[in-house]
Symmetry: C2
Subunit: 166 residues, 2 copies
């Protein structure tokens, strides 16, 4: 089964999320991550859903039929801009802080909270980079970890020559 | 109605998200944002849900009763670490790039895609900071905007004296 990324624009109603997640659950698709947030338009929300599924065509058709679903786009992981944010609290006795800060520097992670027993890092990037960070700090002891789930956006394909960044 | 932040640890099953969002929808709560992602433990996911609701005690009790829900924590917005990530594509003719880059610098935003017609910024921070960025670039024309929804984590309260960061 491969991972698919759906970007779904919905009207901001209490039941729309329930209907979409029910539809995916009925088909037995596992939701790897989901990020739902407001858009520039107050009445609309955008959901970025990453699902493990053999194919998405049928589901996209069914999603289109749901009330309050405005637009569905399947994003190609190869050509999309994908980002995720993670907060991770790691056990850190004072003698271990230096080592952890070194890892943080390599990943451009930011320390956003520190105590005598732990440090909390904010890590941003592509999902693979974030997972690498988790594995590197795992031996120190992960106290708590929260991820946003991926958000994704297509590149501006009208002007391919300028796409050297990211 | 005030905003409440729930951090919900769930077993990673296809139907758990549907059940939680149905429960919130039945009570007519509007979900402001929801971020669902994997945790350090492969069988578990963590959901960060921001809802507009008069009170949460009843809902927390009902959520606790749902199958696959492991733990529910309500986070105090005053004392939590809250972050969000946004990708925003803004119209940018070449003559406008400089102005947009200046705004980007102030917000420590990163340009992750650029074309002859637009620029895509990655912006990270507390929700209020992100909203300020949106309002500043709105006059240039927002082409596309996707937010992760908030993620949040309690501070390490055992050691208050070190909490000067963030």
């Amino acid at each position: 089964m491969s991972q698919h990324i759906l970007s779904v624009l919905v009207e901001n109603k209490p039941s729309v999320l329930a209907r979409i997640s029910s539809l995916l659950a009925r088909r037995g698709f596992n939701i790897h991550s989901m990020a739902v947030g407001p858009t520039a338009d107050e009445g609309m929300s955008r959901m970025t859903i990453v699902v493990d599924a053999p194919e998405m065509e049928q589901v996209k058709k069914q999603l289109h039929k749901l009330v309050n679903v405005v637009r569905i786009t399947e994003l190609d992981p190869q050509t999309s801009l994908e980002r995720e944010i993670m907060l991770i609290r790691v056990s850190a006795a004072p003698g271990k802080r230096g080592e952890l800060l070194e890892i943080g520097t390599i990943f451009k992670a930011t320390v956003i909270d520190v105590s005598t027993a732990s440090m909390c890092f904010q890590v941003i990037g592509e999902p693979r980079k974030i997972n690498d960070f988790v594995e590197l700090v795992r031996p120190y002891g992960i106290v708590e970890l929260v991820k946003s789930g991926r958000i994704a956006m297509g590149r501006d394909t009208k002007t391919r020559k300028l796409r050297a960044i990211g």
